[in-house]
Symmetry: C2
Subunit: 223 residues, 2 copies
């Protein structure tokens, strides 16, 4: 029985691409803001990979984002202010997210299980009005998804078995890892997370426990 739902956040709950681009455009008027946002995000996985593989101790995502910001800015031929890093705290939710979470919360514990830090997820929740019961994720495990420690630490923090928790994500890779760790899985596609030409994660790639159109549909299926 699913007692708690834990959520991927970047892409699944919030539209990082257009939100980050908005702040980039304000801070760096001479760059292609959408391309800059995409390039910044593209540095995300390689930066975590060294930590996941043990080649570097745990560093919160805020710090990785800042390192990546300056690397991408240099590539675009500009100097970015450190303050632009807080763009990741001001990401707009997809329209169905707040109503869906509000419904789901009536019957389930809901929490982010993101690679974002507690600090980042807390500030983002305040901005986007995400009604989480608590903040779980990478900081608790001092490791990054899709390493199993992150899913398992999030379940353990709630004193629940993985078999009492469902991972919700727009990314099949996240769900494969969650399922391997013993969690239930829910896929919610976000076909424009990467823009109009997105080619990945348009459809479920396994028989996930639940496949939902959006969070409102997920709430209906979980009721």
């Amino acid at each position: 029985m699913t007692l708690a739902l834990i959520f991927d956040v970047f892409g699944t709950c919030v539209d990082w691409r257009t939100s980050v681009a908005r702040d980039v455009a304000a801070a760096l008027p001479h760059v292609d803001a959408i391309q800059f946002a995409m390039d910044w995000r593209a540095e995300y996985d390689p930066a975590m990979k060294r930590i996941r593989d043990g080649g570097r101790g745990y560093v919160p995502l805020d710090d990785l984002h800042l390192e990546n910001l300056h690397r991408v800015a240099a590539r675009h031929g500009v100097t970015a202010p450190d303050s632009l890093n807080t763009a990741w705290e001001r990401l707009d939710p997809w329209a169905d997210v707040v109503p869906g979470l509000t419904h789901l919360r009536k019957t389930h514990i809901i929490a982010p299980c993101s690679n974002g830090s507690i600090a980042l997820m807390t500030r983002l929740a305040r901005y986007a009005q995400l009604p989480w019961d608590c903040i779980l994720g990478a900081d608790l495990a001092r490791d990054y998804k899709p390493n199993p420690a992150v899913y398992l630490a999030s379940c353990a923090a709630l004193r629940l078995d993985p078999g009492e928790v469902m991972m919700v994500a727009a990314h099949n890779g996240d769900l494969f890892a969650a399922r391997d760790a013993g969690l239930y899985t829910a896929f919610v596609p976000r076909p424009t997370e990467y823009g109009p030409d997105q080619a990945t994660d348009l459809a479920p790639e396994a028989d996930w426990t639940v496949v939902a159109r959006d969070f409102t549909d997920l709430a209906r299926q979980m009721a």
Copy 2:
């Protein structure tokens, strides 16, 4: 400048004494429920002390509560069901708490910094409708207040310096420790936490940053 307020919970936000007694009365009709609740709570500090002093590894408060439940039940000549341990997840807030927190949250990050686990604080917040932005406290430090690690880990999780955070408590001892760790302090008396004959923590014992009548007054002073 105070950017976040972190709160003691048992006694400061919620009336554990009458709430636990209510569940004790339902589960164990033949004991003095108020006395049982007081005795159960009296085991709290000694149980944590061994962990604070390094004589035992970190064990979440849920488990200490369960050990203490059975010890106290034996002393009262009864056998308690394990399920009674969830009484600590159903504690009523003092009347000013939810309105005060709701106001404070408009301008500050608010979070519990309790010796309760993330699991316990999450379930309690759902029951008592405490509008926390995130759950901090003992679990993050794997240590117990008043050890400084708990205050410092809570600030660090928010990526704030202790000098940007205020600890709110009805217990002078909690505030002495928070101040030593570099935090601002706010004292809110709860003169009936231990019942009508309470003799401790009736007044501030140092010049705390703020002294407030209740959480509504605290919100007014922090505005």
